[in-house]
Amino acid sequence: SQELEQSPQSLIVQEGKNLTINCTSSKTLYGLYWYKQKYGEGLIFLMMLQKGGEEKSHEKITAKLDEKKQQSSLHITASQPSHAGIYLCGAGQIEGADGLTFGKGTHLIIQP
């Protein structure tokens, strides 16, 4: 079965600094999703990537899927307190399948 490894597991960043979170798969990724979760709440959809080399941005968050479709990165520019939370990557288990496999998450803390 596919496994997703996220790094780092936790990250403390000073407000205003940039940061990157990585998601690595043991197999080819068929659709990669990034979500954000605050403690005790559901997941908020951020972005979805499908094609190798694809890059998407929303406000100060940019996500990329590498050419070989086995790794994705999430980059936050000029971090703000509102960026704090748990970031999860999720992937389709096999091509065309719908249930997602998730990584364990990266816990992001923003220090003022």
Binding site: E41, G96, D98, F102
Partner: protein, 114 residues
């Protein structure tokens, strides 16, 4: 419009009791998913519906877990004879169609089995 809603938000059950968790997906969404999230872990897939058809139930951990979506909208996840290891947050998600569409998640039901 309204997002995915789940009820109850919190449920405490004594070991051995049966529980039923409800999910109201976004109106018009064809696909519905259930996930289980243990503390400090990412969500784990349980089961998937396309309309009223349960197309994948490979993630259900035992035959004590049962899900239904009889009219293709509201879904219920039922756990019989709850065990302590069933304690987790149960998340429901819906998407517009099958394939690679955004999955929108509800707030979850936190189940505690004592």
């Amino acid at each position: 419009g309204a997002g995915v809603s789940q009820s109850p938000r919190y449920k405490v059950a004594k070991r051995g009791q049966d529980v039923a968790l409800r999910c109201d997906p976004i109106s018009g969404h064809v696909s519905l998913f259930w996930y289980q999230q243990a503390l400090g872990q990412g969500p784990e897939f349980l089961t998937y519906f396309q309309n009223e058809a349960q197309l994948d139930k490979s993630g259900l951990p035992s035959d004590r877990f049962f899900a239904e979506r009889p009219e293709g909208s509201v879904s219920t996840l039922k756990i019989q004879r709850t065990q302590q290891e069933d304690s987790a947050v149960y998340l429901c998600a819906s998407s517009l169609s099958s394939g690679f569409y955004e999955q929108y998640f509800g707030p979850g039901t936190r189940l505690t089995v004592t």
